[in-house]
Amino acid sequence: MINLSINGQRVSVQPGTTVLEAARKLNINIPTLCNHPDLCVAGNCRVCVVEQTGAKTLIAACAMPAAEGMDIHSNTLKVRNARKHIVELLLSEHRSDCTKCYKNQKCERQALANEFAFGDTIFLDLVEDHPYNIDRSSPAFIKDDSKCIHCQRCVRTCTELQQISAIAVANKGLHQKISSFHDRPMSHVVCTNCGQCVNRCPTGALVEKTYIDQVWDAIYDKDKHVIVQTAPAVRIALGEDLGYDPGERVTGKMVTALRQLGFDSVLDTDFTADLTIMEEGTELLGRLKKALVDGDKNIHFPMFTSCSPGWIKFIEHKYPEFLHNLSTCKSPQQMFGALAKTFFAQKMKIDPSKIVSVSIMPCTAKKYEADRPEMRASGYKDVDYVLTTRELAVMIKQAGIDFKNLEPSHYDSIMGTSTGAGVIFGATGGVMEAALRTAYEIVTGREVPFTNLNITPVRGMDGVKEASIKIEGTVKDWSFLEGAELKVAIAHGLTNANKLMRQVRKGKSPYHFIEIMACPGGCLGGGGQPIPTSMEIRKKRMKAVYAEDEHMTFRKSHENPEILSIYKEFLGKPNSHVAHELLHTHYTERESY
């Protein structure tokens, strides 16, 4: 143990602990900015400087390892003056149109200024000296260089967490900026629209592109029937933006709030998550059959899930030679969109041209996905507007709804009934677990051999998880699988996806089925979820996802009564011709830079 003193208080810490962490142990608050719990230490904003007795310069608490006998002071005049200067310097290069900014009152730079640099600044405004660019090219987010404070959190996110490097630091000195390959617009680089940078940007330099006003317009348009679908991971995180602690489930209140906002039909993406399982599970079994029984050489394993639009764009850019390994299933959002303006419209006798289809997603990449040209199977744009969890919270606040005191209510029907299998799509491993619950039962006629259907090996926050299930006691149609061992793997965060994909590229992947989610923790850690994010917060959300599953009447997709009836009435059977028309898609090879 290392012993040091901070502001006169003694503390003992493990070797490798930083001065910042040691101070937190003593509940001494040292302000930070470039520091983020998910990212490597940068030590570049210098907001966390403290004084070390005997040292000539101040030290950055976040980057300095605690050492024996250190005598640290976090609140001396020297520290205060330096910190005030630093916060003011950050202000001077930041276009401070705070009252108009989407991040107003949610901005870390603003919070620091409120604390350390209020009143008149002595420094000159530098914003006017730099030509800046506001990149609105992506349908998912806006990159506003004039609000960038160069903390490089986004760059570290893109390179470390996601291994994409769509954004990087360019130039030096006063010309230094966060840029893309050859300064191309974000819509024309390898960006996956995952929004993890948006989740970690301390200012308004990276924000989701909002469609709140368009949705309000639709709601108030008497001529339109506005339907809304909510993704599995929204209900377990929305509360964070409305005064709840992380991990609170607010499903019922959210449904009530959506009705109060004026949506005509409040429906559930979980329904199409169940549908995805039917389609994707059948596809997997079909591929196995074709490969093992028919000897079809064009069938490739492992098969990859296709629910995460960030992951889809990633594989299109980085591993396009494996696009045929992807499940052809659309994501639940897009299955929902395609059905909303066909099945739902027919059933409810609404002119599909009058339907405005809105989805609430934990995701920014879903905004991009909805804009893909393939996503018009209904003859219209299947999903018109995608809002993030954060944007929904904004709308609820705009409408003045007293969220905490709302009476919970249920989703509308049809397309509002779901199972626990649909809910767990929100967590990494969830799609795999849901698929196994159904596929195993189709093949063997029995439930998966795990206590209470909880397939624990595929759960948790390990970056790459794997499991294998021995298939025994098969029913007649699937007897060719008797004794086979189904090997599966799960990765979340694109750095982990890369690990599995490199293995695939080498031809050494032992798996049949791989689930990949672009975001850390899966959708619960998506780029559209409430800010801040950290492993601790994501673990709480994950617990909530599985709690939601446990509370469901049905826990297997194929038992969802609405799923049974949609096949009976509309789709025929899984992977039928109609299903292929509406629920399946294709992919596009893209440039790798």
């Binding site: 907001v47 310097l89 420094f123 030096k172 000195g173 230094q176």
Partner: protein
């Protein structure tokens, strides 16, 4: 105050037989080499002045099968051109110093990081390196030197930014600790030394630490190669004993009208005429990596300062706030004062900012911007304002 007067020395450019010196070094024990360099009192010649023997000792103490000697030849400080001359005239002594350092710390690999603008020297340097490799292998050394070219960024002269550059990354300084002695190039223990330091180390092995430490003062042992430029009838490279007064220097190299000497380049200190007689050139007074720029009364010190600030605003890596934004504020600030758009008292605020940059910047670049700023603003305030 101990002072030595102005004495010309011929050590760095002295022709030696590398075989002879390196054979001596080959037979020496590692610890003895380090001890000799420690005893000589040699401090790093790049400007920061860290005791070379100590750097080697620390690096030698780290157990690792892979270590590096890096020669910092990214000579970028405005007004310095001595390393170019050294590499041009006595590159074999630079290589010799690297081999000796390699033996001292237990490294088999050396890298010379050469300033991008010196690319034209590379063919000749490589040719010399080839015959040098033959020589040392004949003696019995297991050591190999490679070249890596910079791309024009001043910041890459900062040791950890230099490592990043060699590794293919962006030239941005790293957080310290860990220091290069434990985690330097490719995360391996590394001793990074200036061109001149390595040559000096070789000469210490040749002549012995006693004769070397007789030169200079207690805090500044030995001699130093100076790059002399500006308003002087005799610009060029001169090796001088450390410890002379600026006055003595000006008497020798000035044009009779010298009003200020910028010692140590843009990151160094400005010495005005009234302090010539009381300022020693060396670590006890004004340290220098070799750049000595003389200004006569025809020069505007505002222009001098503006030029330096403009340089720093461009050459900051842009990573840390105090340096990236601070440089721009200082630059814009003095411009506004000059134009009369800000009151002259604004200079006091800028001096405070310079202090913040000195204590809060991440690396030596940002920490030293305040040196020139403070010394010019304090000594030539009227020239900045009017």
């Amino acid at each position: 105050m101990e002072k030595r007067g102005l004495n010309k020395v011929d050590l760095i450019f002295e022709k030696v037989d590398p075989k002879e010196v390196l054979t001596i070094a080959f037979k020496m024990k590692r610890d003895d080499i380090i001890q000799q360099v420690l005893d000589s009192g040699l401090k790093g010649r790049g400007g920061a002045g860290f005791p070379t023997g100590l750097k080697w000792k620390y690096t030698a103490a780290v157990k690792d099968s892979e270590k590096y000697i890096v020669c910092n030849a990214d000579e970028g400080e405005p007004g310095t051109f001595k390393d170019r001359e050294i590499l041009d005239k006595v590159a074999y002594k630079v290589y010799g110093g690297m081999v000796i350092a390699g033996k001292a710390i237990g490294a088999q690999k050396g890298v010379v990081y050469l300033r991008g603008e010196y690319r034209f020297m590379l063919p000749q340097l490589m040719k010399e390196l080839e015959s040098f490799h033959k020589l040392i292998h004949a003696i019995g050394f297991d050591f190999k030197i490679n070249y890596c070219l910079g791309s024009g960024a001043y910041i890459c002269g900062e040791e950890s930014a230099l490592f990043e550059s060699i590794e293919g990354g962006r030239g941005e300084p790293r957080n310290k600790p860990p220091y290069p002695t434990t985690s330097g190039l490719f995360g391996k223990p590394t001793s990074i030394n200036n061109v001149e330091t390595l040559v000096t180390a070789m000469m210490i092995i040749k002549h012995g630490p006693e004769s070397y430490s007789q030169l200079g003062t207690k805090d500044s042992r030995g001699s130093k190669v100076f790059s002399i430029s500006g308003d002087t009838p005799t610009p060029g490279i001169f090796e001088l004993e450390l410890g002379m007064l600026v006055q003595e220097f000006v008497n020798e190299f000035g044009d009779g009208d010298t009003k200020a000497v910028q010692v140590g380049g843009a990151s160094g200190f400005c010495v005005p005429r009234k302090k010539f007689a009381s300022t020693v050139i060396g670590f006890e007074g004004v340290p220098t990596g070799g750049s000595m720029k003389l200004f006569n009364s025809s020069r505007s010190m505002y222009n001098v300062l503006h030029n330096y600030l403009d340089f720093f605003a461009e050459e900051s890596c842009g990573q840390c706030t105090p340096c990236r934004v601070g440089c721009q504020q200082l630059l814009k600030g003095v411009e506004k004062v000059k134009k009369g758009e800000m009151k002259s008292t604004y200079l006091n605020e800028l001096l405070k900012l310079a202090d913040t940059m000195k204590v809060a910047s991440k690396c030596g670049l940002g920490q030293s911007v305040g040196n020139a700023f403070r010394t010019i603003v304090e000594n030539f305030r009227e020239e900045i304002i009017y």
